[in-house]
């Protein structure tokens, strides 16, 4: 017998799941990514390196900045473009802006209705309007940063190999810093709400993130530091997203993995919150990815304030650094809101001749199935089928899956 879950709602993109039951026992869980393939690796071929980040941004609207930055970092590695520290800091700032926008969207509008028992955030407005408005305010602030540095809220083209098209003015950065500080008190409230969840899903035994907070030159998998090509990618008949394994085991990326591995970065108010809820985070249950996102939201606001002031006081070195080489190969690892993202290119004479992208939701496919399997085993037979389906959809949502991203997980 197969229990079919309907197409997931309150997630980005199109996917569903099915639970296989044999002789009264749950045997298997399959996540079926139905979003059509989008062929970005083929679309980038033959394109000038300069145009590629604008194209790659279109992989995902929720995290277009992460795609743009991963793309420019891969290009810069390939063509030996060494950008000044201000450019690096501005990129970090805009990535935090994106994490703020994306986490606020996920926590307040997509996941929160599960905790309060509503079909959506709109229905929550009569009774919990303040909370939803706080979420929208934080989300809008994240977008202000994306618009200022990325060029627009969605698919801006201001993040270029070698620098930015337009650079922000000092007073714009100071404004960002003040605004960020004022929002910390709202974000603190959402942490407490998500800390109330019961442990569910699988345990994230092998977390992985990039080598530093937000980007690096390799992947951390448990005790190992590896290049992504050491992972195994497996196509499956029932999904447009391939699966990834490391030494035969599923892997897990996202906010929970970041907090577990990068705890030392989390200071200030976020650091105190992390201390308070340490037991839950360290239990590694996938559901606490949402709690980790909430703590990271507080950290993002604090970091944005600190970073904007720092950039404004140091002054901005403007311009675009030209490439030293015309050909080369490079990888960019960047933390998107829902986990590490990889862009990899080979460039010849300024044009991309080979390209690969792996997105966080694709990385998480195996872990998502394992979580559904473990929860279905616990609940099957003891709860009505409709509520089983509802609970299982909630665990998929805890991953904050971005399904559009996941459908071009390839090595050409």
């Amino acid at each position: 017998m197969i229990i079919e879950l309907d197409e997931f709602t309150r997630v980005e993109g199109i996917g569903k799941a099915e639970i296989v039951v044999e002789d009264g026992t749950v045997k298997e869980a399959r996540v079926k990514i139905l979003e059509g393939p989008r062929f970005f690796e083929i679309l980038t071929l033959g394109r000038s390196y300069w145009d590629v980040p604008d194209l790659e941004a279109r992989i995902c609207a929720i995290c277009y900045v992460a795609h743009s930055v991963a793309s420019v970092r891969a290009i810069e590695n390939a063509l030996r473009i060494d950008v000044p520290p201000t450019v690096e800091k501005l990129r970090e700032l805009v990535l935090w802006g994106e994490i703020i926008e994306s986490h606020a969207l996920h926590l307040y509008l997509l996941a929160l209705p599960d905790i309060f028992g509503y079909p959506d955030a709109i229905s929550m407005i009569p009774k919990h309007g303040e909370l939803i408005k706080e979420g929208l305010t934080i989300k809008a602030f994240g977008n202000t940063i994306r618009e200022l540095l990325g060029g627009r809220e969605i698919h801006g083209i201001n993040i270029k190999p070698g620098g930015f098209g337009r650079y922000p003015r000092e007073e714009e950065l100071e404004g960002i810093a003040k605004h960020a500080e004022s929002l910390v008190k709202f974000a603190r409230r959402i942490v407490g709400i998500f800390a109330s969840q019961e442990p569910r899903g699988a345990k994230a035994e092998i977390p992985m993130v990039t080598s530093e907070y937000l980007w690096g030159d390799d992947l951390i998998v448990g005790e190992d530091r590896i290049q992504y090509i050491e992972l195994d990618e497996v196509p499956v008949n029932y999904s447009f997203a391939k699966h990834t394994y490391y030494k035969g085991k599923p892997i897990f990326v996202g906010a929970l993995a970041r907090l577990l591995l990068k705890e030392k970065y989390i200071q200030g108010e976020a650091g105190r919150l992390l201390d308070t809820y340490k037991d839950k985070i360290e239990s590694r249950y996938v559901i606490y990815n949402n709690l980790a996102q909430a703590i990271e939201l507080v950290y993002a606001l604090e970091r944005v304030a600190e970073l904007s002031n720092k950039i404004a006081s140091e002054g901005i070195e403007k311009g675009i650094v030209e490439p030293e080489e015309k050909s080369g190969e490079g990888i960019g690892y960047v933390e998107a809101p829902r986990g590490v993202l990889v862009h990899h290119y080979r460039i010849e004479d300024g044009k991309v001749v080979w390209s690969n992208t792996i997105t966080p939701t694709a990385f998480n496919q195996g872990m998502m199935e394992l979580s559904l399997l473990e929860d279905a085993k616990k609940m099957y037979g003891s709860v009505p089928e409709e509520s089983l389906k509802k609970k299982l959809e909630e665990i998929v949502r805890a991953f904050d899956p971005c399904i559009s991203c996941s459908v071009h997980f390839v090595r050409l």
Binding site: D6, E7, T9, R10, V11, E12, G13, I14, K32, I33, L34, E35, G36, P37, R38, F39, E41, I42, L43, G46, S48, D51, D54, L55, R58, I59, C60, A61, I62, Y64, L105, L110, P113, P119, D120, A121, I122, L136, K139, A140, N143, G151, E153, I154, H155, G156, I157, K160, G165, R166, P235, N237, Y238, S239, F240, C402, S404, H408, V410, L412
Partner: protein
């Protein structure tokens, strides 16, 4: 009035952009009951709607079925965003079957893969709002007009016009930066030239676009095959 949002294959941006209306989303809710919008709500409905917004390309059999359902259930259907109106980036893939084999090998996949196409090639649409993403002010105005019984008007001028109105320095003629503004439909308020960068053509062709004229200008900056690739990024022309 009843409103539904249907999502086909795309980056999720066109559905997301509706949520970026923030406070004005509440203004829309004064006039519309959103009965279906999978990114934002778990409500599911099979009822008829007054206005359907459809985003994305038809890239799979599943997309085609959803599109037909949307058309059958709605009085007024709006193709929202460049995927739906012109095919956008995935729509420029030449041979989807071959591309699928290169990427996935011999697997079947969960649903039949079709050549990615804009929805306008499958069903009649009542209105189209291009943009990758579209300008959210535009969708707000269109929904408000429809709520008041006013037929919305399509924009029929190129990006250049908005660039001039904003008094931006011409990136193409003054700085020699490739720019598709002269042949691209306006409505974005020339956001890319505002950054000192060239228009990448994300809203698709404007009416009466003089392509040969632009190609002549671009030839001084770019090799011809690059011009062709740039023009075909968001639409097949």
């Amino acid at each position: 009035m009843k409103l539904a949002v249907f999502e086909l294959t795309d980056c999720g941006g066109c559905a997301l952009n509706l949520l970026f209306l923030y406070d004005r989303l509440f203004d829309i809710l004064e006039f519309y009951d959103i009965v279906e919008f999978h990114m934002a709500s778990s409500r599911k409905s099979k009822e008829r709607v007054d206005v359907a917004l459809v985003t994305g390309t038809v890239s799979t059999q599943r997309d085609l079925e959803v599109l037909r359902e949307a058309r059958n259930r709605s009085e007024y259907l709006i193709a929202l965003g460049t995927c739906a109106t012109h095919g956008s980036v995935q729509g420029s893939v030449e041979n989807a079957k071959e591309a699928f084999r290169r990427i996935y090998g011999d697997i079947k996949g969960p649903t039949k893969v079709l050549e990615p196409r804009p929805i306008t090639e499958y069903v009649p649409v009542d209105f189209a709002i291009p943009g990758c993403p579209y300008n959210k002010e535009e969708v707000f105005q269109v929904l408000m007009n429809l709520a008041r019984g006013v037929e919305p008007v399509a924009k029929d001028y190129p990006v250049c016009l908005e660039c001039k109105l904003n008094e931006y320095e011409c990136v193409l003629l003054k700085k020699g930066i490739p720019c598709l503004g002269p042949v691209t439909a306006g409505g974005c308020n020339a956001q890319c030239p505002a950054l000192g960068l060239g228009c990448i053509g994300c809203r698709g062709p404007s009416m009466d676009a003089n392509i040969p004229g632009l190609v002549e200008v671009l030839k001084k900056i770019l090799p011809e095959e690059e011009i062709a690739k740039k023009l075909r990024t968001f639409t097949r022309w």
